[in-house]
């Protein structure tokens, strides 16, 4: 027997963990057709029954007002899964039941999971699960997902529910006078349309029409009953007023508070650890400094603790490269293997440790519940900068890699706010740019290398802010204030290793898949372009790079960059930085026939070759910070915005801004005598 199961629930209820518990962590991630939202599916075998589990987005309600809600709603109504698992946070019963009522109304075959049972207990709540089950006429399973308690009972309940799916109906939710009569009237009109009433539950559709639900209205547009329906609706509006949606929402909460909770919930909230911690984390004076301190700790963790792993990878691949070049006689093949393949793989994987460490750190901050407070604390500032409080987390992620950062903007509801965040995100100096700063810094800035690197990060943030403000003021599309900030603050909890690793892998694998392949191919491209035409380049044991395609490319671009003091090598390196910023250092290394390490030899060579001066070096760093986002990011931007217009804009404004800033640095530097 095969059973199709959908997972649904509010955000923060432990849905991801339960999904992982059920599917053993093996998920197939795709996209909902026609949308940019991710679709996660998995399988679970239990007592001979194969369960196909689909994870629906975390939502508070089933309206037509956001993509997430529509996706969930359409899936339930059109795909008609055998069972819908409604995951309810037991420590937050009242609010979570709102969605449950809507699920019952949409005639989903619901199994309620009361998760975080332990948290509810610790808060002092006593919940009568049996009574809840009786009232709502659906099975209720209590679980503690973090300890895998209740999973077997859940699977059993799902199978049982699937068996009795056909022929059962959910209890009717009564809204009282005058709503119920009107709902019945409209439902009966709807039932005259055979096509519609087979597909959609009449009562549910009637309620949606009363709420002026856009999608529902569209459905009814082609129906023969349309006129009669419209007449009824207009009449109703005249009597009851325009905003039935809010009125019905209020009614639902009333039902929960008066008819359900008193029979099901006992006990009261006591002062919790969360309240204590929030006193400091949300403190007027210490809130932001604490955030900055944690942020710095995250950075240190990301770069300094992961360093030995990067070293290890570097060593491994250069050893492999040496073996390849000594063991293979054909020089072209040897070079391809050593510099191309191994160089390429090494070049990608060396970035893996910092990125994974960053995402691990972020996952810990997020799972502990702190990140929501950080967003809250930064919202004041974000708002004044024309950004939404929710833009905050994507910007944090951007310091690791812009690709998952752009994707993380999905949680921002208002499209204008979302696109603005996406446009400004590439200013966050991703980890790929750091080796460039280190290389140039140690080459030409000497003792001030550290200051140079810090200044790049700060420059990035400053520019991001300026651009956000600029775009808000000048581009009509962005006029207006960011949408209002509403965020639920979860209880603080100790992050579990499992969940943290799962989240880390989720984001890190994105980098690996998207950026990884592109970087690898990019390095191979550099190898090719720098080694061919083979004979011209490799003359008598020497490598004359100016004869290669790479050199020709560099010389071609050179004139445009001359005012900035960049020569053809820098030009070629920048060109490849477009493909992936990680390649810039490698390109320089190729020019000097060295391994792609950012430190030591390469920077000394760079310095002695006199290619860059302190001033032009700084300008180069700034240029790489600002100019065009790498291809992987551009790809992500296109996927998230769905528009060539914005993607091109993102690419172009970066170039222009980079040129201007670099020019300013060079001119200013020359003026004060650094030359």
């Amino acid at each position: 027997m095969e059973v199709r199961v959908a997972l649904i629930g509010n955000p923060n209820v432990g849905k991801t963990l339960i999904f992982n518990n059920l599917t053993g962590g093996r998920a197939h991630v795709g996209n909902w057709p026609g949308k940019t939202v991710e679709k996660k599916e998995g399988r679970c075998l239990h007592k001979g029954v194969e369960m196909h589990i689909i994870d629906l987005p975390g939502i508070y309600s089933l309206t037509a007002h956001s993509i997430d809600e529509l996706i969930a709603r359409n899936f339930i109504v059109e795909e008609k899964p055998d069972v819908v698992i409604d995951i309810v946070d037991a420590s937050n019963l009242e609010r979570n039941l709102y969605l449950t009522l809507q699920l019952l109304e949409i005639e989903a075959n619901v199994v309620i999971v009361l998760n975080k049972w332990d948290v509810a207990k610790n808060l002092g709540y006593e919940i009568n699960a049996g009574e809840l089950s009786k009232l709502l006429e659906v099975p209720v399973v209590t679980t503690i997902a973090t300890e895998k308690i209740g999973m077997e009972e859940l699977k059993d309940a799902v199978i049982e529910a699937a068996k009795i799916k056909d022929g059962r109906r959910n209890p009717t939710i009564n809204y009282g006078k005058p709503f119920d009569e009107i709902i019945l009237k409209i439902a009966s009109i709807l039932q005259k349309d055979k096509d519609l009433s087979i597909k959609y539950p009449a009562r549910w559709l009637a309620i949606k029409l009363l709420e002026a639900d856009e999608e529902a209205l569209k459905l009814v547009d082609k129906s023969p009953c349309k006129e009669e329906l419209m007449r009824q609706l207009i009449e109703v509006k005249e009597v009851l007023g325009e905003d039935l949606e809010t009125a019905l929402a209020e009614k639902r909460y009333l039902i929960i508070a008066e008819d359900i909770l008193p029979k099901v919930l006992r006990g009261a909230r006591s002062l919790t650890l969360t309240d204590f911690l929030d006193k400091a984390f949300l403190s007027k004076h210490l809130g932001i400094p604490i955030f900055l301190a944690l942020w710095w700790a995250l950075f240190r963790f990301t770069f300094d603790v992961s360093a030995p792993l990067s070293d290890l990878i570097e060593m491994l691949f250069s050893k492999l490269g040496v073996i390849a070049s000594t063991c293979i006689s054909n020089p072209q093949l040897a070079s391809f293997l050593a510099d191309g393949i191994f160089g390429g793989l090494g070049g990608v994987l060396v970035f893996l440790p910092p990125i994974f460490f960053l995402f691990l750190g972020l996952a810990l901050l997020e799972d502990s519940g702190y990140l929501a407070r950080a967003a809250f604390v930064m919202d004041k500032i974000m708002y004044r900068l024309g950004l939404h409080g929710r833009s905050f987390i994507p910007m944090c992620i951007g310091f690791g890699c812009n690709v998952p950062a752009v994707m993380a903007t999905r949680t921002i509801e208002k499209e204008e706010d979302r696109i603005l965040t996406i446009l400004v995100n590439p200013m966050m100096s991703c980890s790929a740019r750091l080796p460039i700063y280190v290389l140039i810094g140690s080459a030409v800035l000497g003792a001030y290398a550290a200051a140079g690197t810090y200044s790049m990060y700060i420059l990035g943030i400053v520019l991001a802010v300026l651009m956000a403000l600029l775009f808000r003021k000048t581009i009509p599309y962005f006029r207006g204030k960011p949408s209002p900030f509403i965020l639920e603050l979860p209880l603080y909890a100790v992050p579990t290793v499992k969940a943290a690793v799962a989240h880390t892998w989720e984001r890190g694998s994105l980098f690996l898949k998207k950026a990884g392949t592109i970087i690898f191919l990019g390095i191979i491209a550099v190898w090719f372009l720098s080694n061919y035409p083979w004979e011209a380049v490799h003359q008598g044991g020497e490598t004359i790079l100016e004869n290669s395609y790479l050199g020709m490319l560099g010389k071609f671009i050179e004139p445009a960059l001359q005012p900035l003091g960049f020569n053809w090598m820098a030009a070629a390196a920048l060109f490849f930085g477009f493909i992936a910023k990680e390649i810039v250092v490698g390109t320089f290394a190729t020019f000097f026939g060295l391994s792609g390490e950012a430190g030591g030899e390469l920077s000394m060579t760079l310095r002695s070759a006199g290619i860059l001066t302190p001033v032009t070096g700084l300008a180069f760093m700034a240029f790489t910070l600002i100019y065009i986002p790498c291809i992987a990011t551009i790809g992500a931007i296109y996927r998230e915005t769905g528009s060539w217009k914005w993607t091109t804009f993102a690419a172009v404004y970066g170039l222009i801004l980079a040129y201007i800033v670099a020019l300013i640095i060079v001119t200013f530097g020359r003026l004060i005598g650094f030359g």
């Binding site: 204590f276 006193k279 710095w296 070293d311």
Partner: protein, 160 residues
């Protein structure tokens, strides 16, 4: 009353810790800023507190959090939260600096495998500034008893 006395002890402990963190934080921060403009090689105060702008800032924040516990004396119960957060930050930094020192050691090991000479330099120098001597590491250990005491107080009050 016993609880009041215990609370007083906790606050005193926190204030002392807070003061120490603040002092070191100020030193690290100032040295760091100075270092940016007139770089000194391996700058550090007493060989213990390195020049570190952001690290110094962080230590100042930790100090401020502990010091804010003073309002506990005025009866604001939730100020225990400042101590808790101070402890969390102490732990975060203590552990991270420790990890960094270990990472440095690991890198030294890798370098020696590559043929470079082995040094013990990473113990006292390196990415964390002064290696094992970094104050935040020791202050973390010193803050552990405070953590125990505070959590015990919290747990007791829950039983009422």
């Amino acid at each position: 009353m016993k609880q009041k006395a215990e609370e007083k002890h906790i606050v005193t402990y926190a204030i002392i810790l807070g003061f120490i963190y603040t002092v070191f934080g100020a030193v690290e921060f100032t040295l760091g800023i100075y270092n940016l403009f007139t770089p000194i090689d391996n700058a550090s105060f007493l060989g213990v507190a390195p020049a570190d702008v952001f690290g110094g800032f962080a230590a100042l924040v930790i100090g401020a959090s502990y010091l804010s516990a003073m309002s506990l004396l005025k009866g604001v119960r939730e100020s225990l939260g400042f101590i808790l957060v101070g402890m969390l930050l102490s732990a975060v930094y203590g552990v991270i600096y420790l990890l960094i020192v270990c990472a440095d050691g690991f890198r030294a090991l890798l370098a020696s495998l590559e043929g470079e000479a082995w040094t013990w330099e990473w113990l006292m120098r390196g990415s964390a500034g002064t290696g094992f001597l970094r104050p935040e590491i020791w202050l973390f250990f010193i803050s552990l008893p405070l953590a125990y005491l505070t959590l015990r107080t919290l747990r007791q009050s829950d039983k009422t």
